[in-house]
């Protein structure tokens, strides 16, 4: 049930955010500070999520095969690899290390 509550809230919230942008008159959200905050918010959240899902294990910080997988993904990004290759690299390196260890 909890999962369905989360799904419902997320679906409604995300849809309203999308719709808001199409409905409000241009200029309402065009204030520079609001724009800059909206651009920076995903940066902070994505960075936090990346770190947490790489080094977090429930309430503990751990360094395991995922760390190596993400390092490989970062290298693939630096080499301008396409999106799917980046994700695939992380998965393959993580799985490979676990198979070895």
């Amino acid at each position: 049930m909890n999962v369905w509550i989360a799904i419902g809230l997320t679906a409604v919230g995300c849809y309203l955010a999308k719709l808001l942008g199409l409905l409000v008159p241009a200029g309402a959200l065009e204030r520079p500070l609001v724009q800059r905050l909206a651009a920076l918010l995903p940066v902070a959240l994505l960075a936090a999520l990346t770190a947490q899902q790489t080094f977090g294990d429930a309430q503990q910080l751990v360094l395991d095969a995922r760390g190596a997988g993400l390092a490989a993904a970062a290298l693939a990004l630096a080499l301008r690899a396409p999106f799917l290759v980046v994700v695939g690299t992380a998965v393959v390196v993580t799985a490979g290390l676990r198979a070895l260890g």
């Binding site: 909890n2 999962v3 369905w4 509550i5 989360a6 799904i7 809230l9 997320t10 679906a11 919230g13 995300c14 849809y15 955010a17 999308k18 719709l19 942008g21 199409l22 409905l23 241009a26 959200l29 500070l33 905050l37 909206a38 651009a39 920076l40 918010l41 995903p42 940066v43 902070a44 959240l45 994505l46 960075a47 936090a48 999520l49 990346t50 770190a51 947490q52 899902q53 790489t54 080094f55 429930a58 309430q59 503990q60 910080l61 095969a65 995922r66 997988g69 993400l70 993904a73 999106f83 799917l84 980046v86 994700v87 690299t89 992380a90 998965v91 993580t94 799985a95 490979g96 676990r98």
Partner: protein
């Protein structure tokens, strides 16, 4: 920008792109084909990563129906990954949904810019809204004409929506067949998706400092706060960095003005 309405009926977002090329010159038709090709490329590449979402969501313990409902109803990848990640970590549904929602807020700003470019009729907007995401915006914004923008938006949105949902289903079914998804390294897929979305955003020092501060907050708070809260609080990195850079900018203007006065 004008309120649109000047284009022919064939360019409506609900119309099928490419249908009305008979009236267009071959040069325009070729340009339409180029837009469609770009849109299909983005739509297919990202649509396939729905597979990673399906696997991740099933691995996080969501049922097949819940996983598919997320892709059908939420349809914005980062929020979906964030939600299942937070739920898997044991976060309560409200903090989990709040994190997913804050990630989805950026779509409102995409919508603002798209609405000027596409000039959609009011009745169409509630339907088009569901497709206002990173990829459709990325394809639509650089288009030179309203017609090209509408084709780009429609083809990218449609391709992505169909593929994202199909591959979510396949991924969720596949995860059940795979068994222990961690052994296949699939728990690394979600952070890699976040990293791939984040990388192009790190354009200047402001973005990099924000990201670094957010990482420190998220990891520092992880052992001491309930699941879900550390990520939410790390969002504070954005206003903090804006506040500090804003003050510094004011300080430097004051200093330069002072120096100019001394001359």
């Amino acid at each position: 920008m004008d309120d649109g309405g000047g284009d022919g009926p064939g360019t409506r977002v609900t119309g099928e792109p490419g249908r009305d090329t008979s009236s267009a010159t071959s040069r325009v038709a070729k340009r339409d084909a180029d837009v469609v090709r770009d849109a299909l490329g983005v739509g297919i590449a990202v649509g396939l990563s729905g597979f990673a979402f399906g696997v991740t969501s099933a691995g996080a313990g969501l049922t097949l129906l819940q996983t598919c409902a997320l892709s059908l109803l939420v349809f914005t990848g980062a929020s979906q990954f964030a939600l299942v990640g937070a739920l898997a970590a044991g976060g309560n549904p409200y903090t989990a949904a709040a994190g997913a929602f804050f990630l989805g807020v950026r779509n409102a700003f995409y919508g603002l810019r798209l609405s000027q470019l596409l000039a959609l009729p009011r009745a169409v907007r509630p339907f088009a809204a569901h497709w206002v995401i990173d990829e459709t915006t990325a394809v639509t914004l650089p288009q030179p004409t309203r017609r090209a923008a509408r084709i780009g938006f429609t083809v990218t949105g449609l391709t992505l929506y169909v593929l994202w949902n199909l591959t979510t289903l396949v991924g969720a079914l596949g995860a059940e067949a795979l068994g222990d998804t961690d052994a296949w390294g699939l728990d690394a897929a979600s952070p890699a998706v976040f990293l791939a979305l984040l990388a192009p955003m790190l354009k200047s020092t402001t973005e990099r400092v924000t990201a670094a501060l957010a990482v420190l907050l998220a990891l520092g708070l992880l052992p001491v706060l309930p699941a879900g809260l550390p990520v939410l609080l790390s969002a504070l990195a954005a206003p903090v960095v804006l506040f500090v850079t804003g003050r510094r900018k004011i300080a430097t203007t004051v200093v330069t003005q002072g120096e100019e006065r001394r001359r």
